[in-house]
Symmetry: C2
Subunit: 398 residues, 2 copies
C-alpha cells in the first residue's frame, strides 16, 4: 500500500519539535504500545508525562496562564492565573464564615454549608487582572508573559442578590465593601447595581471546589470586572450609602489620564484579544497556518475579531467558536496562507457595544504617557521572520 | 452588633459535616489566616487540602466520576471516567501516527503535529459508556456508583471531514473502521454520515492536551454516541463499503431485545438524567432544599427536566442552566420545601426530539428482562428518610 504525504503536512511535521507543550525529552514508552498491557484505572488522573504546561511565577504574588499551550476556552484550574497581595491563605472550610452587615435589616453570618444551601448559579466567564500587560517586553515574549493574567473557568455559587434578600438590604444602601481574609485584607467598594445584575459568591470552579489561589472556600465573582474587585477568600460584606475609599482604591487602582486628571473605579475590563498561535516560541513553515487566539470583553459578547497579517494595514474577519458567551473568552481562528516575507500578525476585538480594541497610539492618546499599568488593552503584534521563527513586536510605550 | 441566623440557615449549618467533598479531618490551618502571610505563587495549583474528590476504580479497567461532589457541567480532567479493555497505553507523542486508508484516493499517515496543523474545532459534550448503570445497587449507592461512567469536557481537535477531504474518500465508502493503539486494539465500525456530521479527532481536553485515560495523544470523538465508539489512542481509520463486524460489535455491544431479537449498532445515547443532590451519602434537614443534577441526550439538546418528590405521581419542571448545549450535560435545579415524611425524589429528562426518559418498567417492556448491561437509562429514585438520610431506591430488575 502506497502511503503519500502532501507538502502541507510535510511542512507541519517539520515543526513537531516545537509543537505545543511537547517537551524535548521523550518519555520511556514501549516501542509498540499495543503489545503491552496498559496501566490500570486510578482514583485520580494525571497529565501525560511529556505534557508540562506551567504557570510562570513573577515574584511571590503572581503567576500567569500559559496561553500558548492551551486550546479552547476553559483554563485548567491548576493553570488559572494567580494574583494576591500577601500570599494564598489557608482557610478551614468548616470554620469559614461570611458576614453581611451595615445597612441591612438582619446582619447575618453564613457558613460555607449555608452558602451551598441556597439556590445556585453556574456561569462561564473570564477573570482578568487589571494590570495584565507587560509594557516592556522583548521579542522573546510569550503570550503568557505578555498577558497571562486572564483565565476562564466555569464558576458555581450563590447569587449575591439572593443573600441580599436574606439580610434585607436597606433602600438607602448604594455601595458595598467586599473584604478578603488574606493577610492583605484586600477590600474594594462595589456599586450595589452589580449585585442586582450578576454578582455571585463562588464556591465551585470547573466542576469542583474552588482552588486555593482563586479564593477557597469562597470568593466574590463580578463577571467582566477587574480581577481585584472579585475579592477572594471573602469574609465580610458591608452595605453603605457611599464608597469606602480603601487603600487599594486610592494607592493602586486609580488610573492617571491626560491633562493631569485621573479615573477612579475603572471596574469593567474593555474588549481585548490575544493571538496565542503562532507566537513566540514556535517556528512555523510556509503554507497554511491557522492563526488563533482568545478575545473577551467585560461589557458582554464578542461581536467580531479581525486579524491582520500586514501590521494592521488590512484586516480579515476571523471565525468565532460557538457558543459565544457574554463576558467570556471566545476562541477565534483565521486560516492564513504564508508565502514568505516578514508578516506582522495582529488581532483586534470588537464587542457587542461596538467598542473596538484600540492601538497603542489610540490608547495613549486618551490615557497619557504616564498611564499606570492598569486597564491597558492595546492591539499587539507578532512578527513571523523569514526563517519561520515568531517574535513579539515591540512598540515604544509613550 | 446583633447577628441573627434564620431557621433556614441554622438547618443548613447542621449538615456541614456531610457537605460536599469536605473531609472529616481538619487541615492544620492558622486560627486567623489574615494574620499570617500566605504561601507564594506556584507553577501549578493544587486542590485545597480538605478537598479529596476521587474516581472509584471498579477493577483495573474502569473508574467513575464522583458526580455527588461536582458542580456545574465540566468534569475536571483528572476525574473524567475511564473505561478501557486492556489498560491505559503509554504513547510517545513524537512517534504517534494516524493512518487513514482503504477506499480513499490518497492513503496518508498523519503525525500529531499534522493533526494540530489543520483548522481546529472546539466543542463541549458529554461522553458516556454504554454500560453506565449499576443494575444491582444497594441503598448505600452514590450517583458515582450508579452512573459514574458519564463525564463532560471541552474537546478540541480536527474535524474528521477535514481529514477525509485530505485523503479523498471514495464515493462508494459508507463505513469506516476506527482502531485504537491499546493492547485491546479496540475497533469499531462507524457509518460515514457521522464523519460528515460532527465527528472529530480530539487532541485537546478542557484547555490542555487530552489526558492519558481519555486517549492521549488523540482519540475519535463522536458527540452523543456510546463511549466505546469514541475510539481512544486512535491509530488507524479504514474506509469501506460495509461494517467490519469486529469482536466488540458481535460479542459485546449488541443489545438483546424482547422476542429473541437483537439490536446491533446502538450508537446514540438516549436522553437521561441523574440527580446528584441530595443523594446518598448526604443528610439533609427539613426546609428548603435545592434538588439538582445533570441531564443529557445524544440526540441533541435537553428540552426539559421534570422532578418528582412523590415517586413519580406528580412532576414539576426544573430550571435548566443556560446555555443548554446539544449533546451536553445540562445542570437542572428545582427548589423544594421538605416538610417531613419519606419522599422519593426522581428526575426525568425530555430531549428536543420529544423523547422522554423511560421508567424501568417501560424500558424492560421493550428491552426484555434479559437486557444486557448496555443502553439502560431508566428513571431512578432517591428516598429521603425521616431522619434526613438519603438512600438509593432499589427497584426489581426484570
Amino acid at each position: 500500500m502506497k502511503v503519500s504525504r502532501r507538502a502541507l503536512l510535510a511542512g507541519a511535521a517539520a515543526s513537531v519539535a516545537l509543537g505545543k507543550t511537547v517537551a524535548a525529552q521523550a518519555p520511556q514508552t514501549p516501542a509498540d504500545p499495543s503489545k503491552v498491557r496498559g496501566r490500570p484505572s486510578k482514583a485520580l488522573g494525571q497529565r501525560a508525562a511529556p505534557e508540562k504546561p506551567q504557570r510562570q511565577p513573577r515574584g511571590p504574588n503572581s503567576s500567569g496562564t500559559p496561553h500558548q499551550d492551551l486550546y479552547g476556552t476553559i483554563t485548567p484550574s491548576d493553570l488559572h492565573f494567580e494574583r494576591h497581595h500577601a500570599g494564598v491563605p489557608e482557610i478551614d472550610p468548616r470554620t469559614y464564615t461570611l458576614l453581611i452587615h451595615g445597612m441591612v435589616e438582619r446582619p447575618m453570618i453564613f457558613t460555607l454549608a449555608d452558602l451551598k444551601h441556597f439556590p445556585s448559579v453556574t456561569r462561564v466567564c473570564f477573570l482578568e487582572c487589571s494590570g495584565n500587560l507587560a509594557r516592556t517586553a522583548p521579542p522573546e515574549t510569550t503570550p503568557q508573559q505578555l498577558a497571562g493574567l486572564t483565565s476562564q473557568s466555569e464558576w458555581t455559587g450563590v447569587a449575591l442578590s439572593t443573600l441580599f434578600r436574606e439580610v434585607g438590604v436597606r433602600p438607602q444602601a448604594t455601595w458595598f465593601l467586599a473584604e478578603g481574609q488574606d493577610a492583605a485584607l484586600l477590600a474594594r467598594s462595589i456599586p450595589i447595581e452589580k449585585a442586582r445584575d450578576d454578582a455571585f459568591i463562588a464556591y465551585g470552579q470547573n466542576g469542583e471546589a474552588i482552588r486555593p489561589e482563586q479564593g477557597y472556600p469562597a470568593r466574590l465573582l463580578l463577571p467582566g470586572w477587574e480581577g481585584n474587585t472579585n475579592v477572594k477568600w471573602i469574609r465580610r460584606i458591608e452595605l453603605s450609602d457611599r464608597p469606602f475609599m480603601t487603600r487599594e482604591e486610592t494607592s493602586k487602582y486609580t488610573d492617571p489620564l491626560v491633562n493631569d486628571t485621573a479615573r477612579m473605579f475603572s471596574f469593567v475590563m474593555d474588549a481585548r484579544s490575544l493571538i496565542t498561535y503562532p507566537t513566540y516560541p514556535v517556528t512555523v513553515s510556509r503554507g497554511w497556518i491557522e492563526i488563533n487566539g482568545i478575545a473577551w470583553s467585560g461589557y458582554g459578547k464578542i461581536r467580531r475579531v479581525d486579524v491582520s497579517t500586514d501590521a494592521g494595514k488590512s484586516w480579515m474577519q476571523a471565525r468565532l467558536q460557538e457558543p459565544v458567551l457574554p463576558k467570556a473568552h471566545t476562541r477565534f481562528r483565521h486560516l492564513w496562507h504564508w508565502t514568505g516575507g516578514e508578516p506582522v500578525l495582529m488581532s483586534r476585538a470588537v464587542d457587542e457595544t461596538g467598542y473596538v480594541q484600540p492601538t497603542r497610539a489610540e490608547l495613549l492618546s486618551t490615557r497619557g504617557p504616564g498611564a499606570a499599568g492598569y486597564h491597558l488593552n492595546p492591539v499587539t503584534g507578532w512578527i513571523v521572520r523569514p526563517d519561520g521563527t515568531v517574535v513579539f513586536r515591540q512598540e515604544p510605550w509613550g
